[in-house]
């Protein structure tokens, strides 16, 4: 036991004596949360829009007001003919243009066939679709209000995407937090662990440890302790930042969320050991964790792009990434506030992955220097 503690202490020295390691482990998570939460955001704020409104009646006025009073949009100008619309986009000052039909209110009341067209700049498809979907939601909520006042006689359809149900204010931080959590835990557990074990191999210290009476399993365990501890600290930091800074509350059970994260940390640590048992050099460990683990994790996990819109082949690949299942489960628990029954599938998959990986790496880990 004393052997073990001495060794754990040594690992902490390694971490805190290297400025970059310390920085990556403790500051990076905070920077990432802040950066993704505020900076790299898909949120829209104060986007200018123009209106072409030949009707100028109470309904069109109401719609423009609705858009204008939201925090997302601000009215730039009215245009007097459709020909003025395209030059606006060329200047790039306008996010989108609302084109209202003629005799709007009349048509709305009597035929239920009032037309609105939203024109956005398709050269930036992401922004365009975000803008139009925000605007669509505002429009349908206006329709809803109108229905209330007009006694429910107007036929309409509300088009709302499912994820917005849990993200009423359309904050992108809701999507970002589970993703960042997955990435950070993966980074620290898998990448840092594999690099730290590979370093001992590369420097030759592993040989010295293996020749000592210390059991190989203890060597590995003591390597895991510091990264496990730091993961926990980061987990707490991320939660605190998300609740108090990004204002993303924990809707579900904190205990369940923590248990889920522990499971994921366990999976990531075993991946780290597996990688380190396969490689001899730090740089290889870094590349494998970085290229094969982190990059796909960022792109295929649903953190940045919705998985549903990916090619089928990539969707298959995304299934083997533990981080994907973790992110789904965190969304369910933390954002949607669902209980254990909603994440049984994800928990089972993660547990299965942990079992497979730990078996593989224990088999692969060389107890003797063959």
């Amino acid at each position: 036991m004393r052997q073990f503690l001495v060794f754990v202490q040594k690992e902490f020295y390694h971490i805190f004596r290297d400025r970059w390691t310390t920085l990556i482990l403790l500051v990076l998570p905070i920077v990432m949360i802040i950066l993704f939460g505020f900076g790299i955001t898909t949120e829209i704020r104060n986007t200018k829009f123009a209106v072409y409104d030949p009707s100028r009646d109470i309904a069109t006025q109401g719609i423009v007001n609705k858009l204008e009073t939201s925090e997302y949009f601000s009215l730039d100008r009215y245009v007097t003919s459709p020909n003025e619309i395209e030059p606006l986009f060329r200047d790039g000052e306008i996010g989108f243009v609302v084109v209202l039909g003629e005799n709007f209110y009349e048509n709305l009341l009597h035929t239920g066939n009032a037309k609105i067209q939203l024109i956005a700049d398709g050269t930036d498809p992401n922004t365009a679709s975000t803008l139009t979907s925000y605007a669509t939601i505002l429009l349908s909520s206006y329709q809803q209000e109108l229905t209330g006042t007009a006694g429910g006689t107007i036929p309409y359809q509300i088009k709302t995407e499912v994820k917005l149900l849990y993200n009423p204010s359309l904050k992108s931080a809701y999507n970002i937090v589970p993703g960042i959590m997955g990435m950070i835990l993966m980074l620290i557990c898998a990448l840092m662990t594999s690099v730290s074990i590979a370093r001992e191999k590369e420097l030759g210290t592993m040989e010295l440890l293996l020749v000592s009476p210390m059991k190989p399993i203890l060597i590995i365990l003591s390597k895991l302790v510091p990264y496990f501890t730091i993961s926990i600290i980061n987990y707490i930091t991320i939660l605190l930042l998300s609740v108090f800074v990004l204002k993303v509350p924990i809707a579900g059970s904190l205990v369940l969320l923590s248990a889920l994260s522990l499971l994921f940390i366990f999976v990531s640590l075993s991946i780290g050991i597996l990688i380190s048992s396969l490689v001899e050099k730090q740089i290889v460990a870094l590349l494998i964790s970085g290229m094969i683990l982190m990059m796909p994790a960022v792109f295929l996990s649903g953190l940045m792009f919705p998985i549903e819109s990916m090619p089928v082949v990539l969707q298959w690949i995304s299934h083997i990434l533990p981080v994907k299942w973790f992110i789904i489960a965190v969304r369910n628990v933390m954002i949607k506030g669902l209980g254990f029954s909603s994440i049984i599938r994800e928990v089972l998959i993660l547990t299965g992955m942990a079992a497979v990986i730990i078996t593989l790496s224990l088999k692969k880990f060389k107890y003797r220097l063959e």
Partner: protein
């Protein structure tokens, strides 16, 4: 009394025989030189003796324990130092000592006084808090040797301990080896430097996995009609199939 007994020890990697049926004995307190060209099988043989590799066949007893079945006991009774690695560079001098003392189970109360004693002996008192990174190579090697015998092992294995070190420091290093040997610690050392072979009590020379010569330096020189160990080594190495020299 023999501290190391090896009988017909063989290690094969696939069809390649790295160590071919070697036998020898090393007595208590003896300084045993283990020589051979690169690829002659020195490292493989040494790893088997340290319990890092399982022999394909044959028997080896180190410090009274069987290297095949009692490798954990073997590991606890030996010290090990290699040229490739000396100490953890990002740990301080005393932290390195503390780490190895802990790993080898030196009683807690003995560690601090023994550390001070060791540093005094080396003349390193002022460097206790220094990061190993900032010590010169020769100092590190001397410190590493002291660390490897800190737990009073029965045998210490030194794998080219003086590689890259200047002659003066090498000389001091060998004085330390003699001191350890006087205390009854058996020293099993591989080296590239033929002048160092002269310092050993007995020397074995490996060629192609076999031990082709084993005797005191004086006797070997007589046997091979040579004036120096270097010449003995060259005469033997010429017989090698892969003829690296």
């Amino acid at each position: 009394m023999n501290v190391i007994t090896v009988e017909n020890l063989t290690k094969k990697f696939g069809s390649f025989t790295a160590v071919d049926n070697i036998s020898f004995e090393v007595g208590k307190g003896e300084i045993f030189g283990f020589l051979g060209a690169n690829g002659a099988g020195k490292t493989t043989a040494m790893r088997m003796l340290c319990g890092l590799l399982k022999p394909t066949s044959g028997k080896g007893i180190v410090a009274g324990y069987d290297i095949r079945s009692e490798s954990e006991n073997v590991k606890a009774s030996i010290g090990y130092m290699s040229q490739k690695f000396a100490l953890y560079e990002d740990l301080k001098v005393w932290e390195n000592i503390r780490l190895y003392a802990g790993i080898y189970g030196v009683p807690e109360k003995d560690i601090a006084p023994k550390t001070d004693e060791l540093l005094k002996e080396l003349g390193f008192e002022t460097e206790k808090e220094t990061l190993v990174k900032s010590l010169p190579l020769g100092w590190r090697q001397k410190l590493a040797f002291s660390v490897s015998i800190f737990h009073e092992p029965k045998v210490v294995f030194l794998d080219e301990p003086t590689g890259g070190v200047d002659p003066v420091t090498r000389r001091q290093f060998w004085e330390m080896i003699y001191k350890a040997s006087d205390r009854g610690i058996t020293v099993f050392v591989t080296t590239h430097y033929m002048d160092e072979a002269e310092y050993c009590n007995r020397v074995s020379i490996m060629v192609d996995g076999r031990i082709d010569a084993l005797d005191s330096p004086a006797n070997l020189k007589k046997e091979f009609n040579a004036t120096s160990m270097d010449e003995v080594f060259r005469k033997l190495a010429r017989k090698s199939k892969n003829n690296e020299l």
